[in-house]
């Protein structure tokens, strides 16, 4: 049992059971959807960005424990951060889950996702939320979603 505990750490299972910031912000300044066509995982992200700072964000969607926990942890880490800091974190997180590199001191809570790199098929699960976030931040929704 064992090796898989590295992937499915307790923290990840907790976030899977009780995802943080699950839901939707309305009106949101930014929003976007993520989709993993290989497995069908879907994710919707809504953000409140003020003065280049992500003041609030929430996610909705269906996915495996890794993708759900990754989204949940991401929201807790990103909330309150400046957009430039989020972009730097994206890079650090990406290298964490693809190479297991934990050298970046700012990873903080994200470090629990380190086990993913040993399972290449699951990297996409872990990065779905982050790719969605990156897309959200790169284009502003002129009309905030109301539904």
């Amino acid at each position: 049992m064992d090796d898989l505990r590295e992937l499915y750490q307790e923290v990840i299972l907790d976030h899977n059971q009780n995802p943080q910031n699950f839901g939707q912000i309305e009106p949101a300044t930014h929003s976007g959807d993520g989709y993993n066509p290989l497995c069908g995982d879907k994710l919707s992200l809504t953000l409140q960005v003020q003065d280049d700072k992500v003041t609030d964000l929430r996610f909705r969607g269906s996915g495996c424990a890794i993708s759900k926990a990754s989204a949940s942890i991401m929201t807790t880490v990103v909330k309150g951060k400046k957009v430039v800091e989020v972009e730097a974190l994206f890079g650090a997180f990406h290298s964490l889950v693809t190479t297991g590199d934990t050298d970046d001191g700012d990873l903080g809570k994200l470090a629990v996702m380190a086990g993913v790199y040993k399972y290449p098929a699951r990297v996409k699960c872990a990065t779905l939320a982050w790719h969605t976030l990156k897309n959200c931040l790169s284009k502003k929704d002129e009309v905030a979603k109301t539904e």
């Binding site: 049992m1 090796d3 898989l4 992937l7 499915y8 299972l13 899977n16 059971q17 290989l38 497995c39 069908g40 995982d41 879907k42 269906s62 996915g63 495996c64 424990a65 890794i66 759900k68 399972y119 699951r122 699960c125």
Partner: protein
């Protein structure tokens, strides 16, 4: 062949899984920690030593190009390649009215028809009739053909139990081609293709049966089925990857324009124009997948040696037992319940996403498929983003089913 008993000693299987597995080296090579419990044959089947040997013998003893080499090795290669074609033809009970074209797989076989027949015969307003339970490989090629020709796509719907609804109303004078999956890769449903082919004939439509999941598991008889086209893959029937078959009505194939062009498929070539080789070679441009076709011939020999009816009965007994076991688990939801089915079941486990389930089962040596099974419209209709799928073949037995359900139970403990 001997029989295995389930733990309660009340059931028997027509085939002895352990005896069969001896012919498949992978089960020895991957069973160090746990027995390799392979429940993903609907995706690809395992390969017996006999098939590996046939491929190896070709490369080690008579590797040469076919149909053009004037030396002994080349003649042997041509002989083996063409004899594989005869074996496949006999295996599905085809006679001279149908020809066997080797393709890269079932996908290419369907694309061949969608391009070479579809683009020249479909007109605006014509109807292409499919079902809602097609694999992407029998849906997307027709979407492209429809876009090119202005023909319309129509679908025979399926009900909650995974069977097709009454299809008669879907056939009209405008129906030009009917292309239908024989055995569903999701529900395992064996669709009433005889009935569908008859309805198609009554409106003068061309028929294609996607038999990727049926030829490996059911006794086929082309003379009684008598569809215009039948498409299937080698790698799902113990053969190598990279080879598939389009069995097509010779008369239609002769009328059709080529699909891929190049060497082998021509008779004469000048700088300005060319004429085509005879069917089936007209549709086999370039050096064909010689080794793979020879391997498929060996796979067909292997399957014939056991008997397709026996294999079907074996899988029917396995799926019956699996359904009983799964339905006995509170956390498990099984999708579809078709009365006529092959050895395939899709399900979900409450609280465990199919991807996590597949990852966790792997820990116990159990390999299942998780995802949308190349059938996103079905998942949409079921209202799920993904499901787990277990599928069986002649090398599985009751012990595999028991290991599956035990591994599901231990996954539930792990993740919740």
């Amino acid at each position: 062949m001997t029989v295995t008993l389930d733990p309660s000693n009340t059931r028997t299987l027509p085939l002895d899984g352990a005896y069969i597995r001896n012919n498949f080296p992978i089960f020895r090579n991957r069973s160090s920690k746990n027995p390799f419990t392979y429940l993903d044959s609907a995706a690809t089947s395992q390969t017996p030593q006999q098939v590996v040997d046939a491929v190896e013998t070709y490369y080690n003893h008579y590797n040469a190009n076919v149909h053009r080499s004037i030396y002994a090795a080349g003649e042997e290669a041509t002989e083996a390649y063409e004899s594989a074609r005869d074996k496949v033809s006999n295996f599905i009970g085809a006679d001279d009215s149908h020809a066997i074209v080797f393709t890269r797989g079932a996908t290419e076989a369907i694309n061949l028809v969608a391009y070479a027949w579809g683009r020249n015969n479909l007109r605006e307003g014509d109807e292409i009739l499919l079902t809602e339970m097609e694999h992407h490989s029998n849906l997307v090629p027709w979407q492209l053909a429809a876009r090119q020709t202005g023909a319309k796509l129509k679908f025979i719907p399926f009900s909650e139990d995974g069977t097709l609804e009454n299809s008669e109303a879907s056939f009209t004078e405008k129906t030009k081609i009917v292309s239908v999956i024989h055995q569903s890769n999701v529900f395992g449903t064996i669709n009433p293709v005889n009935e569908i082919i008859n309805l198609a004939k009554s409106v003068g439509a061309v028929t294609l049966i996607d038999a990727a999941q049926s030829v490996p598991h059911l006794h086929m008889d082309m003379t009684s089925l008598d569809c215009d086209f039948l498409a299937f893959s080698g790698h799902k029937m113990l053969g190598p990857t990279g080879v598939g078959v389009l069995c097509g009505r010779t008369e239609l194939l002769e009328q059709m324009e080529p699909f891929l062009a190049g060497g082998e498929m021509i008779r004469t070539v000048s700088l300005e124009t060319s004429t085509w080789n005879d069917v089936p070679w007209k549709f086999e441009a370039g050096t064909p997948n010689i080794a793979q076709a020879i391997g498929l011939g060996a796979a067909v020999d292997y399957l014939s040696g056991i008997g397709m009816e026996t294999i079907h009965r074996h899988e029917a007994a396995l799926i019956k037992y699996t359904l009983e076991r799964l339905e006995g688990m509170d956390e498990v939801t099984v999708y579809g319940n078709p009365p006529e089915r092959g050895g395939v079941v899709v399900f979900n486990v409450e609280g465990v996403h199919p991807h996590d389930l597949s990852q966790l089962l792997d820990r116990d040596g159990v390999a299942i498929r998780a995802g949308h099974h190349c059938a996103q419209p079905i998942m949409e209709k079921l209202g799920v983003s993904a499901t787990a799928r277990a599928s069986f073949y002649l090398y599985n037995d009751f012990e595999d089913v028991n290991r599956l359900t035990e591994a599901i139970t231990s996954s539930l403990k792990f993740i919740t």
